[in-house]
Symmetry: C2
Subunit: 257 residues, 2 copies
């Protein structure tokens, strides 16, 4: 039987404020079994870009990444946020290892083709070399994945953290019984956006379609859930959408096929 | 018999300008056997600090690292410079892995005690966990070490890259036949600073003392050579001081006991 691996994706404010980061690291370290953390850092990137006079442009929630912005996100995601998390996890007794897709060549992307929009140095994941990650995890290492990949030709590429979590989960499902946990600021997917307690306990493709059709599920939650279903179709055992402070409990919305 | 490992330390302009970085990565990839790269990045850190209004203060060639400067060096050393090198080495066919001391807990430091000068978040190396590095190297991984360590209590510490190279070389000498190569802008240690061809072919502790007494060897070269002798005393097989474009040749100054 395969060993358990929990992949947690956190983003936004949680990892960018010292107090909430500390709480997250405590909660994360309480998860049983093998663990892997994927983080964002967009607010810090926007803040640094602004200080450096680099304009932040978003289209459909995705960051346009020109050369100057690529330097900013490489510094913030690969350096500041990633290393702060790694040092914090080490202090909590977890043997963390921070990675971009270029490190160990673990995730290769294609630069997104220019259609109506030129996203710049943004990567669409093409290949995950999961064996070397799996080997490290089996030896007790906790990978901490920054939202950066590479094209294997010398270029780093800005890549959505939800996507990285989903792709890593799929590829690692060959080696582990994978639970994928997407954290956001609510306790789960809500049936009533004005009621934080209205968590939908389980979602399958049919109920998902119904909620999308009725407008209950909308915006950024739609691609997140599409990632979730895609992960389940590719062998991931369980996907949970929950609040960061509940990652070591069984709360939240469970996505199933 | 132990396998060969070449540890190359590069700093300054070499890794911070795209053209010279590319040349370095080509030269580095030509080195036979196992390889490890240690890099600096001080000029980029000073440039970013300046843009952000963070004052750079140096004492005896060492950077005073307050909280704002620690963020700058974490971004520049751990992110920008390290990940650019890693992506470049991957493109050159080497399976690079960028690391700070916090990653895999491979190098632990003590925050430097405050005496006449408060260096701030600067680390003096206390412990190197070489086994996990050695294992990765034996499996074909090329570690790329940023000049950052941690205190194992959640804090990153700015640490001199020459020191990191020396300490890594000593600790890895238990596993490999280690050659340590310090690169700088000259072809080797010069007997006449006005003649770039006046490379001293070999230096031992006796000739080193003589050159220091006569003022031929001075400044930053003295701690570099002290690191070199210390490494040799701790089992490192060979130390070479040379120019970056000669790392895959046998040129430069060979330091011996």
């Amino acid at each position: 039987m395969k060993e358990q691996l929990t992949i947690v994706k956190v983003g936004g404010k949680i990892v960018e404020e010292d107090l909430s980061l500390q709480q997250l690291l405590n909660d994360f370290s309480k998860i049983d079994g093998h663990k892997l953390l994927v983080h964002g850092g967009g607010r810090s990137a926007t803040a640094l870009a602004s200080k450096l006079g680099v304009e932040s442009r978003m289209v459909n929630g995705r960051r346009i990444t020109d050369e100057a912005m690529l330097e900013v996100v490489t510094m913030v995601y690969g350096g500041l946020v990633n290393k702060k998390i790694v040092a914090g996890l080490q202090a909590a007794g977890l043997n963390a290892l921070g990675l971009t897709g270029a490190d160990l060549n673990y995730m290769i992307s294609d630069k997104r083709p220019v259609k109506e929009i030129d996203y710049g140095y943004v990567g669409d994941v093409k290949q995950v070399n999961a064996a070397i990650l799996a080997d490290l995890i089996q030896r007790g290492v906790v990978p901490v994945l920054a939202p950066l990949t590479h094209d294997a030709a010398g270029h780093l590429l800005n890549t959505n953290a939800d996507t990285i979590a989903g792709e890593a989960a799929k590829a690692l499902a060959a080696f582990f019984e994978v639970t994928l946990v997407y954290c956001f600021e609510k306790k789960g997917v809500l049936s009533n956006e004005d009621d934080d307690e209205s968590v939908i306990p389980t979602l399958d493709p049919h109920s998902f379609s119904t909620y999308v059709a009725s407008g209950v599920i909308q915006g950024g939650m739609i691609p997140k859930l599409e990632n979730a279903f895609s992960a389940l179709h590719s062998g991931v055992s369980k996907v949970v959408i929950t609040r960061a402070d509940a990652i070591h409990t069984s709360g939240g919305t469970i996505v199933m096929l």
